[in-house]
């Protein structure tokens, strides 16, 4: 093992690896920053390129696109309140507020540093603990996933808005919206009113852009800030002191993100929200969260990036991809003649370590690339409002359309935009709705699987085989109640 590690370390130190990784990181960042584009698309399109490269060059290149893309997604989330993925929703909350205060550079800087720190720590942890993680992954099945998802929803509802009751209402609405379309288990159509366009459900992007970006655009227009700029400056860079203040949050979120990465199927969205909720709960000034708190950006970004390390584990140890990104990586591995699975470490240990170590190098490289790129991106907000607003509007529509190239999505964008504007004025927070919408389908799926697994004997199944899941389920209302009480006392006090 140790020998292979050293060998891998030496193998990863190649100029072409670094050059292509940098290209991947930069390209991924650009693609991720364009609303509507996903890192996944970029990876799939560039996958054949990796076929013709050496494994230690080709796979780090794809990993670079992936890592760059995740950070790229937080750029529009912070600058124009347009999260392109569910994982960037929590980031945009405080990130956009910071932009409005003229601190966009600080927000982007802290997003970069927390992403990289969270990712690096989780990668190193994964390299050291790959086999224990592989064992842990096996302990999670649908019942556990269901329990953890339910708990996540309760925590989000209890901690997100000023009024937990309003949050709960919005979350229910989100869950209901996620039911529209073909039921994922039985294939029954629900709430489609016979419309084919609704059969595959409501798409996420028009909702994300609609409820987050459109109301902000409307707000700027309604304030009639004709000649003004969104903020007069890009602001200063992050100071050492501010970074230090966020450091504890980053560490906490990294632990949360890494743990969530071990549970198959939870992913970045849950990690970001849990990291954010935990930071808010631990803070002395939770009322600052949502109003432009650097720690909020740090919490979300560190957590959603820390997921990455452990999600690689089932792929490497069993050859089973846990999500679409790892499925593409599997294709790249196989095309390189590396067959992920139990023997991978015995047969190709050094190469695998080289790839894992290249992941860590990619993070370090990205600090430099990201840091140098941020000034260019943050210049966006200094464009005159009269030009910026139409520009952002164009991006909103293009972004909503790109994903499925379906004009119905544009109608949905407008619909969700109007809904978002109304919700904003009625002081209903749209975030719990979006979270309910994103987490609804996996929750429902896990529930259906659990029911199928029990073959009728629900109580017996949990008591004899799934004590862990049962405990989480029992603890959930208690945790929810405690958080609710805490939030209320903060509000009144």
């Amino acid at each position: 093992m140790i020998d292979q590690f050293y060998q891998g370390f030496a193998m990863a130190l190649r100029v072409d690896t670094f050059v292509l990784m940098s290209l991947g990181l930069f390209g991924g960042m650009l693609v991720g920053a364009l609303p509507g584009f996903t890192t996944l698309m970029a990876m799939a399109i560039l996958l054949p390129v990796s076929f013709f490269l050496d494994p230690i060059v080709g796979i780090p290149f794809l990993l670079g696109i992936y890592k760059g893309g995740i950070f790229g997604g937080s750029i529009p989330a912070i600058l124009i309140s347009m999260p392109g993925t569910g994982a960037a929703v929590a980031t945009s909350r405080d990130g956009y507020k910071l932009t409005q205060k003229g601190k966009s550079r600080k927000a982007l800087d802290i997003a970069l540093f927390s992403s990289v720190l969270g990712d690096t720590a989780s990668d190193i942890f994964t390299i050291m603990m790959i086999f224990p993680i592989a064992f842990l992954v096996m302990l999670f099945g649908p019942p556990e996933l269901f329990a953890v998802l339910l708990m996540s929803l309760v925590i989000i509802a209890a901690t997100s808005g000023s009024s937990p009751l309003k949050s709960l209402v919005m979350m229910m609405l989100g869950l209901w919206l996620s039911f529209v379309g073909t039921d994922p288990l039985g294939g029954v159509e629900r709430f489609t009113f016979g419309l084919f366009d609704l059969k595959s459900g409501i798409p996420l992007l028009p909702m994300l852009i609609g409820v987050f970006a459109i109301p902000e655009l409307a707000a700027v227009v309604m304030r009639n800030e004709k000649a003004r700029q969104l903020s007069t400056l890009m602001g200063e860079r992050l100071s050492r002191l501010e970074f230090k203040r966020c450091f504890k949050t980053i560490c906490r979120s990294t632990v949360i993100g890494t743990s969530i990465g071990i549970v198959p199927g939870l992913g970045q969205v849950v990690a970001a929200m849990m990291g954010y909720s935990a930071a808010k709960n631990a803070s002395d000034n939770p009322e600052n969260f949502g109003e432009g708190e650097l720690e909020g950006v740090a919490a979300a970004e560190a957590a959603n990036n820390a997921v990455n390390g452990p999600t690689m584990v089932p792929l490497l140890t069993l050859g089973i991809p846990g999500d679409n990104v790892t499925a593409i990586l599997l294709g790249a591995f196989v095309a390189q003649g590396l067959r992920p699975g139990p023997q991978l470490f015995e047969e190709q240990g050094a190469t695998v370590f080289a790839i894992l170590i290249a992941m860590v190098f990619a993070n370090l490289l990205f600090v430099v690339i990201g840091y140098l790129s941020i000034p260019f991106f943050s210049r966006l907000v200094t464009i005159k409002v009269s030009i910026l607003i139409p520009l952002v509007m164009m991006f909103a529509f293009a972004g909503a359309f790109v994903f499925r190239s379906d004009s119905v999505d544009l109608l949905m964008l407008v619909g969700f935009g109007l809904f978002g504007i109304i919700a904003k004025y009625a002081r209903f927070d749209v975030m719990p709705m979006v979270m309910g919408f994103i987490l609804g389908p996996p929750l429902e799926y896990a529930f259906g699987q659990t029911v199928a697994m029990t073959s009728g004997d629900f109580v017996g199944f949990f008591l004899t085989e799934r004590i862990g899941a049962l405990m989480v389920l029992v603890a959930t209302p208690v945790i929810g109640y405690l958080l609710w009480k805490r939030m209320r006392s903060v509000d009144s006090g």
Partner: protein, 322 residues
Amino acid sequence: MLNASIRKTTSLLVAAGMALGVSLGMAQAEYPEKPITMVIPLGPGGSHDLNARVITSVIPAYINQAMIVRLTPGAGGQKGTHEVAKAPADGYTLLFSHNYIDMLQQHVEKLPYDPKKDFIPIARINFAPIAVVVRGDSPHKTFEDLIAAAKAKPGGVSMAHSGNWGALFVPAAQMMKSRDVQFNLVPYKGGGPAMQALLSGDADVTMGFPATIGSLLQSGKLRVLASSGPKRIYDDVPTFTEAGVVGDIGFMHRVVLVRSGTPDAVVKKLQDAFTALQGDKTYKNLLKRLGENADLMLGDEYQKMRDEQDVSYKALVEAITN
């Protein structure tokens, strides 16, 4: 749109270079004049996506145009299929699908298109034979052990599959019907998670294609109980026919279709290109590395198979849903 245009630009560049290389004398407008779109009605990262990436990276050399992949997942494959059914029948929009989406779904529910009338096959690219697998330490040593266990306690054996009417569900249903047993079918989001459920002990049995089970089999984590195909894939493992499971079972045929009414010359040109791929070293090499075969079957021959599938899937769906 942006996405499409970027892909278009890249592919145009590729195509432009290609055209220059081939000849400058081709003044006549001949199909294909512009890049061809290949619609996949499935999500990114799946086996269709990977196969398509191989095809589209090699085929431009034979059609002098780029081929662009467009993933249009949704409604169990119906969204992408519907899109191609609505596209003009000019050969610029291909559908890269598989036999269950193509021929089975019409019997399960009402579709906004008619697969038999709206599409003709260009070629079957390749196929994957499925195998029934259990854990290496499973008490079920043979296929008969498994059947006996399921007979002893109906629903007591849990089978992880990749979603209703999917590539693992249909053979499972065929097995249950042929051997008159009842498994407890538990759905997972794709073959990968189903395999993970088997390995973690959540499921007793599942199925997999050679590409996915190869490495796990070698390490002793899996045991194969039966496999599809006329010949044995694994020496001491029976085929489905030998195990008393009848019908065209357990094959995933990856097939390229176009709108019916597409001009014959265009169909021929596409078929020639796919045939030419068979002699391409890079193509064969990449598919082999993915663990896929390159067993091409041209449209007419596959159409016969399609007609048979139509009949047998209809009977199967009726048997299961009633």
